[in-house]
């Protein structure tokens, strides 16, 4: 190509583009200081510089980035050529704020090491119990995290929280977190653990990047939800945890179900039970009446009609209960009781029927094979009961 005498601008730009846009310059981390910072819509434009040089940077859709002039950052991205303006620049995808070069490298190395070992593997992730009784929380006693967690839990699904107070930053933080995980695992009442810390500078989250913390999380028999820092901060703990939540509040939301949803499910369950039982009882009553034609004198026909109406009445009554159940999610249990009583077989006794129960095991005597001659039966009528011995039996 270079043998040609005259090139078009486009040709040269394209040639340079091919020279620069190569794998070595893709997915690279670059450390520097921000200057000439501008934000247009969701896109950030700035230069990254150090004592020797400067490189133009652009970050698209950088909604969460809170960058300032002079800030020390590490950015991840690809080198690319912007042919229209004739310059090369860094297309940034990720930004880490602070003078954190060293620890960030360590973080990346640790992440790679543990990932290779399989500590982040999906197959080791434990399921979060759908309905816990007790939630363990590992965080600072003083921080905002425990308040956020408490608020979410008392709003959604109030239960017992066992707080394992630890320091979340500083020399001893990692050891304290490890011991807290172990201590909660020694108890038998904790169903799920939230490991939390409120937002802060990335370098303050280092305890959550330590290997021993990662291994303690991995060893935990109880599932762990991590909620460390802000939305954009990831720590090693987040990768090892069974579930990662963006914030302590979000972790609490994942730890407990929504009490209102459960309440609704329960009301639905009750509604289904009522309708099933009502249908069945209605049918049984009809059969009961139909089975005694010999008792039906002509003048009793109207009586049967009345009973049928009563059956329907019971079903209607239950439907009423169901409707009120749906209408007022917090209905009075008394209503249910009344309905249940109306359904009870003992109500049938009021109408002149009796129930026979085997004395020996309190099972209902409903088939001729259920008892033998000599067996004692309890005959229950509306206002009392009688003990009877069977003298004779005969199959229909």
């Amino acid at each position: 190509m270079l043998k040609k005498k005259i090139f078009s601008v486009g040709e040269i730009a394209n040639f340079i583009k091919n020279l620069l846009e190569r794998d070595e310059l893709r997915n690279i981390w670059v450390e520097g200081e921000i200057s000439d910072y501008r934000k247009v819509g969701n896109n950030c434009y700035f230069s990254l510089k150090d004592e020797r040089a400067s490189i133009k940077c652009v970050m698209f859709n950088a909604e969460n980035a809170s960058l300032r002039e002079g800030m020390k950052v590490i950015v991840k991205g690809d080198v690319g050529v912007y042919e229209k303006r004739g310059y090369y620049q860094l297309y940034v995808r990720e930004i880490k704020i602070g003078g954190i070069g060293e620890i960030f490298i360590k973080f990346l190395e640790m992440k790679e090491k543990l990932e290779k070992e399989g500590l982040f593997d999906r197959r080791y992730k434990k399921a979060i119990p759908p309905i816990p009784s007790t939630v363990g929380v590992i965080t600072s006693k003083e921080g905002a995290a425990i308040h956020d967690i408490y608020n979410v839990i008392s709003r959604r699904f109030p239960l017992r929280i066992v707080l394992a107070p630890v320091r979340v930053q500083g020399e001893t933080a990692a050891d304290e977190i490890v011991r807290a995980i172990e201590a909660l695992n020694e108890r038998n009442d904790v169903d799920v653990i939230i490991l939390a810390r409120g937002g802060g500078r990335w370098e303050d989250l280092q305890a959550f990047n330590e290997e021993k913390v990662a291994r303690a999380i991995f060893r935990s028999r109880i599932p762990i939800i991590s909620g460390v820092g802000h939305e954009s901060d990831f720590t090693i703990a987040d990768f090892v945890a069974d579930v990662r939540a963006a914030t302590p509040s979000a972790a609490a939301e994942m730890a407990v179900p929504d009490g209102r949803e459960i309440m609704e499910w329960m009301d639905e369950a009750m509604e289904r039970m009522l309708s099933l039982v009502a249908r069945r009882v209605g049918r049984a009553m009809e059969t009961l009446e139909g089975m005694r034609p010999e008792r039906m004198m002509i003048h009793a026909v109207r009586e049967v009609e009345r009973k049928r109406e009563r059956c329907e009445g019971v079903v209607k009554e239950m439907e009423g209960v169901m409707n009120s159940l749906i209408a007022s999610r917090r209905h009075d249990m008394e209503v249910l009781h009344t309905a249940l009583e109306a359904m009870s077989p003992y109500r049938v006794l009021e109408r002149g029927y009796s129930i026979c129960i085997r004395e020996k095991d309190n099972k209902v005597f409903s088939s001729i094979g259920d008892a033998d001659i000599g067996d004692v039966l309890r005959v229950i009528v509306k206002d009392g009961e009688a003990k009877c011995r069977m003298e004779e039996k005969r199959r229909k």
Partner: protein
């Protein structure tokens, strides 16, 4: 679940699961009337336990003391 003395100790989650089972059994529909009413009563009992637990539930923080 038969031993009534344990009622206070039953966990909400377990009671809810038991309620779910009762509904399933009622829905299967192969019960005698007697069994059905017994299940129904059991269902109501569980429903009451669950509701009471849910309504009375309070969030509280206990602190792990000692060695940490």
């Amino acid at each position: 679940m038969q031993d009534g003395g344990e009622e206070k100790e039953i966990k909400f989650g377990d009671a809810l699961k038991a309620l779910e089972r009762v509904v399933e059994e009622l829905e299967k529909g192969d019960l005698t009337l007697d069994e059905m009413l017994k299940k129904f009563e059991e269902g109501i009992r569980l429903f009451k336990i669950c509701r009471e637990k849910l309504e009375k539930a309070e969030a509280r923080i206990e602190e792990l003391s000692g060695e940490i």
